[in-house]
Amino acid sequence: MKKIIRSATAGTLESSDALVTVAPHENGVVIEVDSVVQKQFGEEIFRAVEETLRALEVKDARVSVVDRGALDCVIRARVETAVLRGEEDA
């Protein structure tokens, strides 16, 4: 299990990218998504973040995604990188 011990970010606010921020949190995962394609892809983005956190065994974290139209693979990569930067043994 990975523990987020510090606030960390990955990504940018450029078009077609996303800025992902992870921060320590007690009692589970909180995900916030703010996207320029919220109406078209809001649920997919939320699910991509959820799945990536589960795969990385992150149980407690606050994750915020400011999305500028990033592809699914980009969202997943940015989340993974932010987690690696914020975790205990990084």
Partner: protein, 467 residues
């Protein structure tokens, strides 16, 4: 003659007899650097005149003050050909009671000339004028080049007020709009900010996706059968379109092809092509950069044209009807080749036809150049959220992954296939995009009609709803 020169904008408005419910007009050559519309609207509001129809060839974010005049019912109706995203967003949110009427650069002069949208008082921002109202965009500190879109306003409005920041001795040499149409002349400190009027340089894209699209676009032109002596061409000022113009120049010089003219909004890249001998003439309704302004001032082959000569279906003939190839953009294109350039992916107004549907209707080959997707949104959809240009007028879509030809143009399809281009069905292109982006969820449109899109022949082809 000297009687035309009045002291202030306010005095000119009063002399012109502006009253509640009348129609006023503006042209947009000063683009996002324009001060004139705001100066005039401020005076009109101060005079307490209400319920005006505003007929502007285009509206930019610098005109955001209009929001206040709309809320105060100084302006209760807008006719325009283009509206940038600042005001567009507010209109989409339901700012106005009466829907905005969008026309095209050809439809606007048509409807002014036919009396469908009569103008009571036209305000002409003139970079140089004399005291009788002879005026030009070619000279002065706020030089913008062509004044093409202002011609119908000058010719058909009941009263015409020329506003200038460069008043010269009578007679102005090299005028575009003559004194015969002008009632009053006002001198002000500045009609606009030169920084916003024309960009110092318009730049070719460096984005590899854009460059691939541009190269493909030129291959399509080359193999269309139209690229030969006498060739005529129009393109926008977008990065990929400019790159296409630059590649096209190389092909024309290599193959020693001498074209006839390039038209529309003119950039430095088209000036380069003129000077290199690719074209005999430029037909200029609007200058996009400083190089174009300098060229129209100095080079007699670079000619100013009115909006009517550019694109009006009411003119006895127009430049767009003599076009071989036009390269156009799109925010969306559907599988029937209908194109949207009015609204963004969320349904907010952020543009307008301008000359899009005029040139598409006139040109022998109308090409849309667009990336397969932008910020995760596929460019090809089942139905565009707004039809700006009907699919019957579009021949080909060029993307970085392939080219889709409208099935109505079988000859072009065969030519491009024979030339080895990656010709795909437009449904296939849509599927390729959705494999990468995922399938976007549908937008639900609002209840209220906030704008109507009037095609160049006067028919309403679509409506835009609130967001």
């Amino acid at each position: 003659m000297a009687g035309k020169l009045v002291k202030s904008i306010r005095e000119a408005i009063q002399l012109a007899g502006l009253k509640d419910g009348m129609s006023i007009s503006f042209h947009h050559h000063l683009r996002n650097g324009d001060y004139t519309l705001n100066l005039v609207m401020h005076e009109i509001a101060a005079l307490g005149v209400k319920e005006l129809t505003l007929n502007a060839s285009s509206l930019f974010d610098t005109h955001a003050e209009l929001e206040e005049h709309i809320e105060n019912r100084v302006v209760t109706k807008i006719n325009t050909n283009y509206m940038s995203s600042g005001l567009g967003r507010r209109i989409s949110e339901g700012l106005m009671e009466a829907p905005v009427s969008f026309r095209t650069h050809g439809g606007r002069p048509r409807d002014i000339q036919l009396g469908i949208t009569p103008i009571d008082v036209a305000f002409i921002a003139a970079p140089t004028a004399d005291c009788a109202g002879n005026c030009s965009g070619k000279f002065g500190p706020s030089a913008c080049g062509s004044l093409g879109y202002a011609f119908p306003d000058a010719m058909y409005a009941k009263k015409v007020i020329v506003i200038t920041d460069n008043l010269v001795d009578y007679p102005l040499k090299g005028w575009s709009i003559p004194e015969i149409y002008v009632d009053y002349v006002v001198r002000v400190d500045a009609i606009g900010n030169p920084q916003g009027i024309v960009s110092g340089t318009t730049k070719i894209t460096r984005d590899p996706v854009g460059l691939i699209m541009a190269q493909t676009a030129v291959k399509v032109i080359k193999h269309s059968g139209l690229l030969k002596d006498g060739f005529s061409f129009q393109t926008g000022a977008g990065g990929a379109s400019l790159a296409a113009a630059s590649y096209l120049k190389n092909v024309m010089l290599q193959e020693n092809i001498r074209g006839s003219f390039a038209s529309g909004g003119i950039t430095g890249y088209l000036v380069d092509m003129l000077e290199a001998g690719c074209f005999e003439s430029l037909m200029d309704v609007q200058c996009f950069d400083l190089k174009a302004v300098e060229s129209i001032r100095k080079n007699p082959a670079h000619q100013e044209i009115s909006a009517m000569q550019y694109a009006s279906p009411a003119a006895k003939s127009a430049v767009v009807d003599n076009l071989d190839v036009v390269i156009l953009g799109a925010t969306e294109i559907d599988t029937d080749f209908n194109v949207n350039v009015h609204t963004d992916s969320s349904g907010y107004i952020m543009g307008g036809s301008g000359g899009h549907s005029d040139t598409a209707a006139g040109a022998k080959l109308s090409m849309i150049i667009a990336p397969l997707f932008r910020a995760r949104l596929p460019i090809v959809t089942d139905h565009v959220s707004c039809i700006s240009t009907p699919g019957r007028d579009i021949d080909v879509l060029v993307t970085q992954r392939g080219v889709a030809v409208n099935p109505k143009n079988q000859e072009l399809m065969l030519r491009l296939k024979d030339a080895g281009l990656n010709v795909m069905d437009i449904q296939q292109l849509k599927a390729v995009a959705e494999r990468i982006t995922g399938k976007p969820g549908h937008l639900t449109r609002g209840e209220r009609k906030v704008a109507e899109v009037i095609y160049r022949d006067g028919t309403v082809i679509d409506s835009i709803y609130s967001v």
